[in-house]
Subunit: 332 residues, 2 copies
């Protein structure tokens, strides 16, 4: 195997003695060069959980310059090293967004809604792709019965309303975590919030105001509709909620933002607190508890900010965890 | 966080006290239940290597019952344990197939062609999807200038010809490894081959016969067309070839069948020899050499039998390696 050398691997000095010299039947196509297609595949992926059909739908991926204090309890150097370990660049680390649609049979349910149409327009289609990919996947927003919201950050709620400020899921009941509503819609909390958080308070008022504040509030540990149950996973925000989808013996844990960030930083470093966690220590406690259970049960996990299609398993890896994506199934 | 218990995680006994009890604005949609869509996303994925556009196209995934001697130098028990460690079932371990298309600018190049139209028909579209996914990706087989074949196993060459026995890439030059041609087309080798291998010899005659044996033979370590160079990686078959695609400083190693099998078995256990390797010890030597280089260079790797879209990186992991898929980019 003398040809497998660094020099050849890098293709830097390959001989120009064209292979066609060996050919007794060389063909020279006369056609013009084909232009690159330049278009990515539609961003959805479908899988079954028992009889339930789940469709993971990408809302896009945002290259994100990470602030030096992106992790509260890690140095800039440690942060950059961890991002590099994920083969990413701290100046443009990838931050994916993945809402899901769950067809339980009786109900068509959306869990979280992405960055919304304004971001779609601003980003020229790179972000806020949920509606376009939903359409590509063959799902009509008018047919959605329930939209479940996990927490009130903009990348989860902004896709509830269109650029015209009208509901995008016009026939759907919108279900929100009761403690999340209490926290973000409280005027006292808004007035006491640090300046950097006031935008999120006001954004929640804007979005839910557009719905006439018509929401159903739910608690953790409840069946929201047959096949989908809520699990309180506070820390990231006070009412942040995860979900178990189950049908027969099949289950998937929808972890939403139990970790949220690029390069699987908080999977690798579960004790790190993100700057945007409302309660960092609680977020860490929640993450450890949920992940240890998911690992013990070898449970499928669906992560909002994991690389699309964002479904896989977790394994213990030293002091942290390792993400193992489920193999893509080209059929369903 | 008292709600995060095993009982709630599994959704086995969630209270039926519906969350709607909390709702002041419950909405009861009158529409009928939406049927499941039941259709997977088109199976292609596009990325850039410098100015070159690569399209990974799935040919399907075959659930495979692994023979007890699927690995020559491992016990049935060790094999089953390794498959289980990949969250797969040895009675239906997933065996994906992923040809790629490379648009170098001047040339539109296909590398390997999948299981072919006969398998597509027999499997009712579950396998042999290359042509349908190629169409979905916006690529016309008539526009393909070159088809590069890595080796002569059926899942790589059968897609060269249609059910009508006519070339599927009618305007393309077909390039094959010279040592592969010498091995499989030699009548002496056919007559001396064990019974289990004769099918592969005859299949190569069938496929290339349909092309009138009009092929261009190439050696390892050559530039096949600007941007694509061959790397001899023998063992799996005598003339098995890998490729380096490069443009500017960007490169990707196309490893084809340096490992071939489900659950990344030979990535985790690089010293294992597959029953279908023509020269098992040589395949192991090739794998170790190529992978150590790819790890050292943090080089992107495209694997024919890795889970779609089959592009990512390798890391050292104990005595073996670990596969780290590249994050899916929803744009290009």
């Amino acid at each position: 195997m003398t040809q497998l050398t660094r020099r050849n691997l890098l293709g830097s000095a390959v001989a120009a003695s064209a292979a066609t010299a060996l050919s007794p039947f060389g063909i020279a196509p006369a056609q013009a060069a084909a232009p690159p297609v330049g278009k990515q595949a539609p961003g959805f992926y479908r899988y079954k959980v028992g009889s339930i059909e789940v469709t993971a739908v990408t809302d896009g991926l945002r290259p994100t310059a990470l602030a030096d204090n992106f992790v509260r309890n890690a140095s800039k150097e440690a942060l950059h090293a961890a991002v590099a370990a994920g083969y990413e660049d701290p100046t443009k680390a990838s931050f994916p967004f993945t809402p899901i649609v769950v067809n339980t049979g009786p109900k068509l349910v959306v869990i979280d809604t992405g960055l919304g149409p304004a971001t779609f327009q601003q980003s020229k289609g790179a972000l806020g792709q949920f509606q376009t990919n939903l359409a590509a996947s063959g799902i009509d927003p008018k047919a959605v019965d329930i939209v479940i919201i996990s927490h009130f950050h903009g990348d989860h709620i902004n896709g509830l309303v269109g650029a015209d400020n009208k509901p995008l899921f016009e026939n759907a009941e919108v279900m929100v975590p009761a403690p999340e509503w209490s926290f973000w819609m409280d005027d006292g909390n808004l007035s006491r919030a640090p300046e950097a958080m006031k935008g999120a308070f006001n954004n929640a008022r804007r979005v839910f105001g557009a719905l006439g504040n018509k929401v159903t509030r739910y608690e953790g540990g409840k069946e929201l509709t047959p096949g989908i149950s809520s699990v309180a996973t506070p820390g990231h925000t006070p009412g942040h909620t995860s979900y178990v989808i189950s049908s027969g013996s099949a289950t998937v844990m929808v972890q939403v933002d139990v970790t949220a960030g690029p390069a699987l930083l908080f999977v690798r470093n579960p004790d790190w607190q993100a700057a945007f966690d409302v309660d960092g220590p609680k977020a860490v406690e929640t993450r450890r508890k949920l992940y240890d259970q998911v690992v013990a049960d070898k449970m499928l996990l669906q992560g909002f900010h994991f690389p699309f299609p964002s479904v896989g398993r977790l394994e213990k890896d030293g002091a942290g965890y390792r993400w193992v994506p489920a193999p893509w199934n080209p059929t369903i």
